[in-house]
């Protein structure tokens, strides 16, 4: 299959833009120059055939365009503090001389001094190459709002001196966690139905795994995303959510599951016991048949100890119940501080029902129904409550 222009652009945009930002120290100038180079490619390549190295061609062309622009506008040169404007090179840069600075770029985009929404938008724009309009559509905000968000973020990066570099080792764990959170947030936005965002998150995750091959949590996140994404097609039937045990396994993507398991093995081999590696290990157990519920519960216990999250404890309770220990599950759920969380009451209702405590189960369903928002979940709860019969 011939490689399409769109594919080349998708693959190269982030790298070309990152090296331009590293060279110019200016997001806007870099973005404009990259856009010009990609537009020129779209015009010339179909006519003259693609160059031998598309990446080198794009990087050289964009760099020369930027230098031309600086020359035309010396005041801009002063602003960007390029004391000496380098000569535009006629020769294409060798592919090996183009530094891969995507890692520097993603750490800049996901800097905690930017608000989370802006981190996400900027990452998708610069590394993913999505247009402002595409990002706006994906996050259901007006294009103008998204454009303002991006402008403000870029302005802050320049004015506040947010560095373009990979953080030193004493900052790396915290800052990498911020990067992974952004990628996972993009994935989850996509997992709710907008598949293009999930694909984008997988692409970003893959790039991170390539750039930081020794970080277990990066592989853990990639594994988690692959294992969840593999079940995408089976999660909905006629617009209704399908529970794991009712999913049509023929719709699962076996290749994705295998790739997810490989990433998980890599994370574990690197000693990964962080939140993403643990969630991926749980996701891997979920695609096994029969499902080893006691091991799932044990992993949730480890995850809860790590995160201190009562929501994770609730999942552990559900796993304990599936493993047969309904009494222990109920005792655990009863001790959680999640009174405003409808899943707590829905879970308690199911556990009480299994224990034959019908009146208490009915009350718990009522509590859950009072808190639930999604229409499909409401119908499900009402159905379950009705099955208990009249009081």
């Amino acid at each position: 299959m011939p490689i399409t222009l769109e594919q080349v652009f998708r693959d190269e945009w982030g790298r070309v833009l990152a090296s331009l930002i590293g060279f110019l120290g200016d997001f806007d100038l870099a973005e404009e120059a990259a856009q010009e180079a990609f537009a020129l490619a779209a015009e010339r390549w179909p006519r003259d055939g693609p160059p031998e190295s598309p990446r080198a061609w794009l990087a050289t062309t964009a760099r020369n365009r930027a230098i031309d622009r600086i020359r035309r506008d010396r005041t801009l040169a002063a602003k960007t503090r390029l004391l000496e404007v380098p000569e535009a090179t006629e020769d294409e840069m060798d592919e090996t001389t183009i530094p891969d600075e995507r890692l520097e770029l993603i750490f800049t985009c996901c800097h905690p001094a930017l608000e989370l929404d802006a981190q996400v938008a900027l990452t998708l724009r610069t590394l993913g190459g999505l247009t402002t309009e595409e990002i706006a559509r994906a996050f259901l905000v007006p294009q103008e709002t998204m454009a303002k968000r991006l402008v403000r973020a870029k302005k802050k990066i320049a004015a506040a001196g947010i560095p373009f570099r990979v953080p030193p080792s004493h900052q790396l764990p915290d800052r990498l966690a911020a990067v992974l959170a952004v990628v996972y947030l993009v994935f989850n936005e996509g997992y709710g139905g907008r598949g293009d965002l999930a694909a984008e998150a997988l692409r970003l995750g893959g790039a991170l795994a390539e750039l930081l091959p020794d970080e277990p949590e990066v592989h853990g996140l990639v594994a988690l995303m692959l294992l969840n994404d593999a079940r995408r097609e089976a999660r909905f039937a006629d617009g209704e959510l399908v529970l794991l045990r009712d999913q049509d396994r023929a719709l699962w993507d076996g290749e994705r599951i295998a790739a997810g398991r490989r990433s998980l093995d890599r994370a574990l081999a690197l000693g990964g016991r962080g939140p993403y590696a643990l969630q991926a290990a749980i996701a891997a157990l979920h695609v096994e048949d029969p499902l080893d519920w006691p091991r799932v519960a044990a992993l949730y216990a480890e995850l809860a100890a790590l995160t201190g999250s009562d929501v994770v404890e609730l999942n552990r309770a559900a796993a304990l119940a599936e493993g047969g220990d309904v009494e222990a599950a109920l005792a655990l759920a009863d001790g959680l501080d999640l009174d405003r969380y409808h899943y707590l009451h829905a879970t308690r209702a199911e556990l009480l029902r299994r224990l034959g405590r019908v009146d208490e189960a009915r009350d718990a369903y009522d509590r859950a129904l009072a808190l639930v928002h999604a229409e499909s979940e409401r119908r499900f709860l009402e159905r379950r409550r009705a099955e208990l019969g009249a009081p």
Partner: protein, 124 residues
């Protein structure tokens, strides 16, 4: 993301931080804790790149002035609430925001119930 250094105004907001201006709250700290706070501020002032600010009296002693329709209105207290008011400042010349964040995290007020606002200075 500039090649050369940046200048930051480091604005210290005391919030709930005990300070010697409130002897009762200050007295609840152990002598060791009090000494540590003085030592930390001294270390900050001696950090390369730091230009110490002027010492400020507490926000309770501030006077706020507005002009409406040409008339000067004077009120007792700071513009924002006392807890949100500026308690002190210094200037830090650094490579980038990460360096400023690291230094800000060493300001005692940041760990004692207050916060440090890092504000880049306009460069012409």
């Amino acid at each position: 993301m500039k090649e050369d250094g940046m200048q930051y105004l480091m604005l210290i907001h005391q919030g709930d931080t005990p300070t010697p201006f409130d002897q009762e709250a200050w007295g609840r700290l152990s002598p060791e804790e009090q000494q540590q706070i003085y030592a930390d501020y001294q270390a900050l002032n001696q950090t390369p790149g730091v230009t110490p600010g002027l010492g400020m009296q507490p926000p309770e002693l501030a006077t706020t002035v507005r002009v409406q329709d040409g008339k000067t209105l004077t009120t007792d207290g700071p513009f924002v609430s006392v807890k949100e008011a500026l308690g002190g400042y210094f200037v830090f010349e650094a490579d980038d925001l990460d360096a400023a964040i690291e230094l800000a995290s060493r300001v005692p007020a940041a760990r004692l119930g207050g916060a440090v606002e890092v504000r880049p200075v306009v460069e012409y």
